[in-house]
């Protein structure tokens, strides 16, 4: 997996929210078909990293290359058209749109996206809820909807921000299973997570982020052996 050319390469990425300097030189990479997580405490800069890749955070310095070409200079709305999908933290389901409208909102950016029927197969809970206002769904269902609407666009590189936050264990398992399906379909995923067990169940590699810098990289196979090291980072 590591030998092939990296799909995404982030090097020495700095990022700012207004005046406050949040990212201090993030460097990491993601290969095609991998699931890679960013682990770290609250405020370490994981979410900001995803936002910087999407261009939601505008004030950036450093390099972000996707499929070999620079994307930091692209206008924000052009980034998704490279096939990059974004599932934001707190899901970003629109209250004034019903479930179907939420699902159909992001434009199809590439061929090969999932059809509505495939989506309902993957997330049966969403079936038959078309006319329900988006935010009337339960938290787990909203998370599924947030993932589903990106799968429809044909994006094959997905940034997923804390999909398990605040969800019951049963729902977390369902979401893990659906991510496994996506992996089998060949999708690449960057996952921001706090839930270590969930991360370990699906990821290939883990990056540990502290104060806006990647401080360690751990392959999933050696994760059980590295728990002490990891716990000291995360302060569990």
């Amino acid at each position: 997996m590591r030998e092939q050319q990296h799909l995404l390469e982030v090097s020495n990425l700095n990022g700012w929210y207004g005046e406050s300097h949040v990212l201090h030189g993030m460097t990491f990479n993601v290969g095609a078909g991998e699931i890679v997580t960013l682990l770290g405490r609250n405020g370490a800069g994981k979410t900001t990293t995803l936002r910087a890749i999407m261009g939601v955070v505008r004030k950036r310095r450093g390099a972000i290359t996707y499929k070999g070409s620079d994307i930091i200079s692209l206008p924000q709305h052009k980034v998704p058209w490279l096939g990059i999908g974004y599932v934001p933290e707190e899901r970003g389901i629109f209250a004034t749109l019903n479930v179907l409208e939420n699902l159909m909102l992001p434009p199809v950016t590439q061929s090969g996206g999932m059809g509505i029927d495939d989506i309902y197969q993957l997330f049966p809970n969403l079936r038959g809820r078309d006319q329900t206002p988006g935010t009337r769904l339960s938290g787990g269902e909203q998370q599924m909807l947030a993932i589903a609407r990106i799968l429809r666009t044909g994006a094959d590189f997905i940034l997923l921000d804390e999909p398990t936050e605040g969800l019951a264990p049963v729902i977390v398992e369902e979401i893990a299973a659906s991510l496994q399906v996506l992996k089998q379909r060949g999708l690449t995923i960057v996952l921001v997570e706090q839930n270590l067990r969930f991360a370990a169940s699906i990821a290939d590699r883990h990056y540990v982020v502290e104060q806006g810098v990647v401080v360690d990289e751990i392959a999933n196979e050696v994760l059980p052996a590295s728990m002490d090291r990891l716990n000291s980072y995360l302060g569990v």
Partner: protein, 295 residues
């Protein structure tokens, strides 16, 4: 049936019809204000000036270019919309991140510029615009005579309101707009060019005002002051109805037109301030407006 509280039935209906026409204009304008406010967070003081511009666009098109009434219903909104694009791109967009009050003051300045310019170019007096021939007649309804043009104004403006409502509530483009109202940055992260969308929304809504101006041209005279008198009443309409919903804006606009018409029948001297009195009552009884959700 011929008299109600000592008022002949036909007079009452006639005034209600006039009220309905005024109400249609209130509806068209407050609809545009509400959409602009929802999307751009801007109170567009220049809305009245764009309405006036629509009237003049139709007038100039007719007098100098020989463009007739029907094409001018398309040409005038387009011309006004283009000016809207310039105003949004050149001025307004730089103020989005600031206090709302600055954009209100900016659009007030734009309104003064436009009104002052047209007063300078055309003088203050109203200019007549001929009735389109096809609508010069009328229909005898038995109890009253309905001038065809007035019927058309009501139908056309309500039609435009309905189409706008449908486009926003029921179409994909409308879903983009509603989503961008809630969370513009996420919509942008889905690959939609939100800044362009904002420009087009502003252009469309001031275009609606331009359409209303062209529609009003044969009915009232075209004058530089026609917009500023109207916009203040429309502001009161917006305070009464709130800007949370499109339907709310339309319903409030129409009902206030009707209330104004009724006042004209029963208390003629108070008709000019009827809308404002309703506003005072609403402020006292239901401070956040009838359909209100305050931001």
């Amino acid at each position: 049936m011929t008299e109600i509280f000592g008022v002949p039935f036909a007079v009452l209906l006639g005034q209600l019809l006039l009220g309905l026409i005024n109400g249609s204009f209130y509806a068209l304008l407050s609809l545009g204000l509400a959409i602009i406010f929802g999307m751009l967070n801007v109170i567009n003081f220049a809305h009245g000036a764009f309405y006036m511009l629509g009237g003049f666009a139709a007038l100039v098109a007719f007098n100098t270019l020989g463009i007739g009434y029907w094409p001018s219903l398309i040409v005038a909104p387009l011309a006004v919309g283009l000016i809207g694009v310039v105003v949004e791109k050149l001025l307004l967009r730089h103020l989005y991140k600031m206090d709302h009050l600055y954009s209100l003051l900016l659009t007030f300045g734009v309104a003064l510029m436009l009104e002052g310019l047209f007063r300078h170019l055309f003088g203050s007096a109203g200019k007549p615009y001929p009735l389109p021939e096809a609508l010069s007649g009328g229909i005898n309804l038995g109890f009253m005579f309905l001038p065809a043009y007035r019927a058309w104004v009501i139908v056309a403006s309500l039609g435009v309101c309905l189409v706008t409502w449908y486009a926003i509530e029921r179409t994909r483009l409308g879903a983009y707009l509603r989503a961008a109202t809630e969370n513009p940055s996420l919509v942008q992260a889905f690959g939609i060019n939100v800044p362009v969308m904002l420009t087009l929304t502003y252009a469309f809504c001031v275009g609606l005002a331009g359409f209303a101006g062209a529609l009003a041209a044969p009915l009232y005279q075209v004058s530089p002051g026609m917009g500023s008198n109207l916009i203040i009443i429309v502001f009161a309409v917006v305070v009464i109805g709130g800007m949370g919903s499109i339907i709310g804006a339309v319903v409030t606009g129409l009902s206030l037109g009707l209330i104004e018409g009724l006042t004209k029948v029963f208390v003629p001297s108070a008709s000019a301030i009827a809308v404002f009195l309703v506003m005072v009552a609403v402020l006292l009884l239901r401070p956040s407006g009838l359909f209100g959700r305050e931001r």
